[in-house]
Symmetry: C2
Subunit: 352 residues, 2 copies
């Protein structure tokens, strides 16, 4: 708990003066005011975080956190639990969806085992941060203990620390792998919002109507039985969350403490970001929403945090795939701000 | 007219077998079926056009076509007409918005003078395709003659020919520059759709309520006076269109004839694409819509062509800026198809 508390205390504020100077530069560029839409305020936010107008996002890292979920016993996913560990190898070997999209975005994918139900070789090039081998089935009791929930968040923070020690990243993206993990993610937003599971639950990897009913029932049962306290994010995480979800929250808190912009991916990464913002509202200033996924709960998470996702490509994959695509656009946003000439610089009369 | 007719006759069909093979590969990739949303069918379309699964969009060219508009006399734009030629120099010097976004996308910007009301130096590195120095004010008569409309389309076709002769592009993007050109573009969709100008007209570069009224009135007057025939796209272009809009249509027809995928930008480029598809419906198979702009008429153009834009970043700039951003995503789509491993390739059991 000390690492978590110390890290939260370290979170500062972006440089508001630089952000204002950025907005002024954008207004003076040789184009109609506001004509680059949502890219403009995003570029100014990135400038405020970096403390300069010419932001370079050279080192971009997507951290894909993996964990397993006891609730898969309830038949909430199409895929068997073994796929979580198999996909970890796929990430390491660079053949997965996030590997491909990250490569295109000039980003590196780093994988973290937070709670996979599998013994990886100690020399497998992943962050070995296993808290335990998967959560318990939350329809029968809490998913994990309070201490384990804190440990999972601190795992995410320690990953940021290690990345900074290697060579400070200019941007961090979050991604997830964990069979069954749309179920705890949806339970988290249900717990915070008080909305009905039936109104929040999507089809995850593609379950049918019967699977959807099982999933909604599991979430309802988990909340009814465990009574997560919405004013206590660690309680919510422990009772109906997941190990990788805690780490995804820790990544956001860690990135914010180091002043690094962080882009969250889909439903699961955003559930982690939500835990982070409930624990540390100041982290919000460093957080960017990448895409709107096909999962309906995602929308409510974004609403609660006041974030507008950049894109809607109808993704429903996770891994960090949406974050990878958004990183390309955020990188483009930095160029918009720094490189487009002003009316004065090109000698054209402004319309204003 | 011969070049136009010959080029339309040359338009073939994408390879349907390759497109189907692409869709099958996408279904077998180690991820939930359909989980990469709209990127999947787009990647398959690109494969069908290229005739292979591993599509490489190495040479990407954005052609920004410039022209002036007599209708600016009616007070439809915030900026004076001189800005069109000034921006041409800004493009050539690489400091404009499209220059910056194209550079980020690994694309090259090529500028074409189709009808700017300015004498450029003959050695300025642009395509010198001036048909005439701007259109006439279409509230007082047709914007141009039928021959000039054909010449403007053929200018676009000849640009594609020249680009192919240089070194065949793998993808062409379209972009525009022309003070006042949201007015003829909106008039074009009004003419084809029969919808009211009041329901189609946006604020362009940012006119106020009074300006918007003038703009709607100008469009209504142009259509009433000239009676463009919606079954004759050249008539529509001649009566209420623009020179760069014709060329933007010619780029689409030319690209389709050479089997090159073409990405249209905002309202003006899409007006050009619409002219192209009305003249040559087979061109549609090579056409991609980049973004949904803030201009309401844009939506109706996309609807008419059955195209879904990839992104909505609230851009309202033109120049090819939306096409540049979309090119990055389409490039990513080619990697999704070719590089993400299948279940079989990575030894994971499919859920199906």
């Amino acid at each position: 708990m000390k690492l978590l508390n110390d890290t939260i205390a370290k979170i500062g504020k972006p440089n508001a003066e630089v952000e204002l100077a950025a907005l002024e530069r954008l207004r003076n560029q040789a184009r109609p005011a506001g004509s680059l839409g949502v890219m403009e305020p995003l570029s100014a936010r990135l400038a405020g975080i970096a403390g300069k107008i010419d932001v370079r996002l050279n080192r971009k890292i997507i951290v894909t956190c993996a964990g397993d979920h006891g609730v898969v016993e309830e038949g909430v996913s199409l895929f068997p639990q073994e796929v979580t560990s198999q996909m970890v190898y796929n990430f390491v070997n660079g053949g997965a969806s996030v590997s491909v999209l990250a490569r295109h975005a000039g980003a590196e994918v780093r994988v973290a085992d937070i709670g996979v139900n599998f013994d990886f070789e100690p020399d497998l090039p992943v962050f070995h941060k296993k808290v335990r081998k998967g959560t318990d089935n939350f329809t029968k009791g809490p998913a994990m203990s309070r201490d384990e929930a804190v440990a999972s968040i601190e795992a995410g923070i320690s990953i940021v620390k290690e990345l900074v020690a290697e060579n400070r990243p200019d941007m961090i993206g979050t991604g997830d792998m964990g069979i069954g993990n749309t179920t705890p993610s949806t339970a988290i937003i249900a717990a915070f919002s008080g909305l009905l599971a039936a109104d929040l639950t999507g089809r995850g990897t593609g379950i049918d109507d019967d699977g959807l009913k099982l999933k909604i029932k599991a979430i309802e049962k988990g909340i009814e039985l465990n009574q997560p306290d919405p004013s206590d994010a660690i309680d919510v995480l422990a009772k109906v969350g997941g190990l990788e979800i805690g780490a995804l929250g820790g990544l956001v808190i860690g990135a914010a403490a180091y002043g690094i912009p962080v882009v969250c991916d889909g439903l699961i990464s955003t559930a982690g970001a939500l835990i982070a913002c409930e624990l540390a509202p100041a982290a919000r200033a460093y957080l960017f929403a990448s895409h709107r996924s096909q999962e309906v709960g995602h929308l409510f998470m974004h609403k609660r945090m006041g974030l507008d996702p950049l894109i809607d490509l109808a993704f429903r994959l996770g891994e960090g795939t949406g974050a990878a695509v958004a990183m390309e656009l955020l990188d483009a946003a930095t160029r918009i701000l720094a490189d487009i000439k002003t009316f004065e610089e090109v000698g054209i009369a402004d319309s204003n």
